[in-house]
Subunit: 336 residues, 2 copies
């Protein structure tokens, strides 16, 4: 989709984002590391393997139930590193502030970052602050980049799924997206929906310690579970079969999605991980996840198959099947 | 300066920026690495020493004589790594795009980044793109973070200046700031003033190869030479004496500064390095710099002294002296 101007779709994490990356960024910047398109890059320094990743955060509103742009900026990048099996260690933080931002809001966000970093066991080692005139940004944007070490025996990447791998998720889908959207739109539901924003590195470390047969880890953020699985299916050249009846969604998130015309499969998560693991270790990994505070609601939702490589297919309750494509347009702008 | 709202001063790189960092960021995020406040952080992994740094770029306009926000985003972070004596290797790039940005402009900027990265010998290994609604950003903001390896024998840091060290710079001051400001304000001068934006890692490597007695490297970006030297004076606990008659400024930059009421000592550079080197190696390092394309106009501009620790003093032509403080307010907003 080569349009003449940037549209909100280009930032939604779905097909338009991918097309932009493929048409504009990859041709110019291509190198063997970047073009792997994993959540983080793998770097080698004299035998030390590091993962490195970056994300900018522009979520609107900057405070939402269950988190804020400060904690999100820590969790998001920590998780991108963890998805490579890395132990996240160091973050950088780049702040773009709009003139007129309340200093008390900035202080609250920085405290929230600090708390999130401490809980995740990472240090913010370098930072930068820029200020732009009122009306040239939207209160605050935060970029974080991070590095972490990958233990020698770990080999987790989007390319590694194999037919037969069992697909797990650590809990229900869509909490983050619905929490942010509800706040932004001033919607209220009977039960408050909180973002699932959380650092997943502890959960991931527990899984990798329990099993050496975890092949793929992917956090379904922008574009949701559907988009993340489409990426993995393409990277690994496998098909992915999803069992509709197994897909976990909170009742209140489901109700909100119905009201808003959204499919929870496409709604952003910030504390969820999709896991593809060899079938013989699936039960072990599932139990390990359930013993962790962030995996108590873990469940099996599908499997990798040799049919329909590159595609995700949903097995519906009545024996039907439908193709689940990646997010094709802008579903929820500025969700992270 | 504890104000209730963020002001443009807070992003100018001078005293207001420092006060914000000291009052808001350091107390919350403090750790032994961050609080060294060098251009980049020093990290150790099983004997491998890495420098890591980040900067966000919000320069207005995004295209200016001698560069653009794309090349600047590469040069700036490469230089922050080089100031620690590191060999820059890998960058991440985070793009925040305003809805409506011309795709052709984005393509031009990404090409410019790619060219700058190739020339500097670094790879962009991870990237992220966000899009915000029209009016919520200003065309494009770019964050880059970078890592590089520090050779075992290298020990360059803002804390290392000693009385007697000779102070050098690799060429005239203020080109970048005046080039950007002229374009923004639609000023035209008889001679076009181009930004000095350049990757300094090659020049730095040549200096460090020639001498093991380079103590401090610092790139005088926002806040200019005056602010950078004040930072070094404080970090090292030395005084710095500047010789006014030795300070290099292009004639046309000087004229522009006079017209605009600016002091070149406070105007941003993006391809300059301040060097403090033991006196016995000063001539050697100076000659090494002059043999490099980016150091042909290198010169000695002062020295570190034991008097007035923490302060920078300018020796004027007529035998007078005046204290050169760091930038105290907003001189040039969005210069980088």
């Amino acid at each position: 989709m080569k349009t003449e101007r940037i549209q909100l779709d280009h930032g939604a994490g779905g097909r338009a984002s991918q097309d932009l990356v493929a048409a504009t960024f990859i041709p110019a910047l291509a190198n063997p590391i970047l073009t792997q398109l994993n959540d983080s890059a793998l770097l080698e320094f004299e035998g030390v393997r590091l993962a490195m990743s970056t994300d900018s955060y522009v979520v609107d509103p900057i405070f939402f139930p269950g988190g804020d742009i400060g904690s999100l900026a820590v969790h998001g990048t920590v998780n991108d590193l963890a998805m490579r099996g890395a132990q996240p260690l160091y973050l950088t933080a780049g702040f773009i502030l709009e003139e007129g931002l309340q200093l008390s809001d900035l202080e609250r966000l920085v405290s929230s970052m600090a708390k999130a970093a401490q809980e995740a066991g990472v240090q913010v080692v370098a930072a930068d602050t820029k200020v732009v005139e009122k009306g040239k940004a939207d209160r605050i944007f935060i970029n974080t980049a991070g590095v972490g070490t990958i233990p020698p025996e770990v080999d987790v990447a989007g390319q590694n799924a194999r037919p037969g791998d069992v697909l797990l998720i650590n809990g229900p889908m869509g909490d983050h997206g619905i929490a942010v959207l509800s706040t932004r739109e001033g919607l209220s539901f009977q039960t408050a929906i909180e973002s699932d924003s959380a650092a997943l590195n502890g959960l991931v470390a527990a899984m990798l310690e329990a099993s050496s047969k975890v092949h793929v880890l992917r956090d379904p953020t922008r574009g949701g579970v559907a988009t993340a699985l489409n990426e993995v299916a393409k990277q690994s050249g496998v098909g992915i079969r999803l069992e509709e009846s197994s897909l976990p969604v909170r009742r209140e998130v489901n109700a909100a999605c119905e009201m808003l015309g959204l499919d929870p499969l496409y709604v952003a998560n910030e504390g969820k991980v999709l896991v593809l693991v060899a079938p013989e270790d699936a039960e072990l990994v599932l139990n390990t996840m359930r013993q962790h505070p962030l995996g108590q609601e873990a469940c099996i939702i599908g499997e990798a198959v040799s049919e329909h490589p590159g595609r995700v297919v949903l097995q519906t309750g009545i024996g039907g099947r439908r193709i689940v494509d990646m997010l094709s347009g802008e579903q929820l702008p500025r969700i992270c």
